[in-house]
Symmetry: C2
Subunit: 224 residues, 2 copies
């Protein structure tokens, strides 16, 4: 009705191996799983599938999304290197996940972690922290979706920058369509809005996926 990509469907996935631990968490979870490559646009898991694994982006980027009956797609989040995704509080995945670009993803058996969390309160706390991050993401997303197109795009750019240590140059791994489906806009509106921001001097767009944040002030002023 409004925007979004029309999806038809495709699929392919399959996780991998494990090993036993005694280690704590953080970077050490690396030792509990193995790294798998996913080509661009390949599905990592599907909505409603049992959540048997937990994932950490090693390189590339991942999107989670849902598709409405009529084909409208909404992207829930983008996950960048270092981000963990696929942790579901219920037993099933609430969203599907796909590689935005060719990516490497560390795959960890959920059971191993949950067992560990039972013994180690530190790990339990980490799981809680991750759930908290997901909740905040979703809540922030709601706040984003009530704003104007300029505010959404500006907010998106600032978020991407913040996730890249606040760098003033951002390399976007995702297409305009992905951005549009994340922001609840059409690809045309995203494109036009970027052009406006560029014309107003708030940003520069040396190449379509490379954005320079020229004026934080202008951007955050747009950010209500």
């Amino acid at each position: 009705m409004l925007s979004q990509t029309m999806i038809t469907r495709n699929a392919t996935r399959q996780p991998a191996e494990r090993r036993a631990p005694a280690v704590s968490f953080g970077d050490s979870i690396e030792m509990m799983g193995s790294v798998m490559p996913f080509a661009r646009n390949v599905e990592i898991y599907g909505e409603n599938e049992p959540a048997e694994y937990l994932y950490k982006v090693v390189s590339g980027a991942v999107r989670t999304y849902k598709v409405l009956n009529d084909g409208r797609r909404q992207i829930g989040s983008f996950y960048l290197p270092g981000d963990i995704f696929g942790l579901e509080v219920g037993g099933k995945h609430a969203f599907s996940a796909e590689a935005v670009a060719d990516s490497k993803v560390l795959v960890i058996k959920r059971g191993a972690l949950v067992a560990l969390a039972g013994r180690d309160t530190g790990v339990a706390g980490q799981l809680w922290t991750m759930a908290a991050a997901e909740l905040r993401r979703a809540q922030d997303h709601v706040m984003l979706l009530i704003k104007t197109a300029q505010e959404r795009v500006a907010g998106f750019l600032m978020e991407m920058s913040a996730r890249n240590s606040g760098a003033s140059e951002v390399e976007l791994p995702m297409s305009r369509q992905d951005i549009a489906d994340y922001l609840g806009l059409t690809i045309e509106t995203v494109s036009r809005t970027l052009t406006q921001l560029e014309n107003s001097g708030a940003i520069a767009v040396p190449s379509s996926r490379h954005i320079v944040l020229r004026s934080r002030g202008a951007l955050s002023r747009l950010n209500a």
Copy 2:
């Protein structure tokens, strides 16, 4: 820019299930706090305040919300009798909370619960379940906000019905403005949409806060 109230400032269901020893959770949390009355529109807690308590609606209704710099208000959730709110994964409240109507709210010291959760894995699980519910709420809200006005209103009515055991008659405790700020629409659009749904025979509106769902089919067809 789009909708929302400009702010300047200032029944009874029961969950179920528990297990094991001691005073567990569920209905028993009643024993861990006291019931306080809140008049309509009175604040229960404010955004960014430390989350020292957890709350359960005994009667009436509660809304949580955020206000953007320019005054636009977004309601995050409505809580009805039996619902628990105010559980924050971080230490601070992400939203403010107010009584939608005169309400009675059970107030529980957070510390007491967290301590209990440390001893009783059943309680820890309950906390996890509540966090899960919050996450799902926020995710569903995102999906709602990308829909058309008719879809949002129809979805809202069905949600309210579902929370009232699927009853086909719904008594709305909140104003049109609250509904608008929850759905990301204006009060006028909410009103007009209700009129359309009524004219199409999907609902009846015997009084402004009393809605009869006449045709589930029609409503869910609108619900993408």
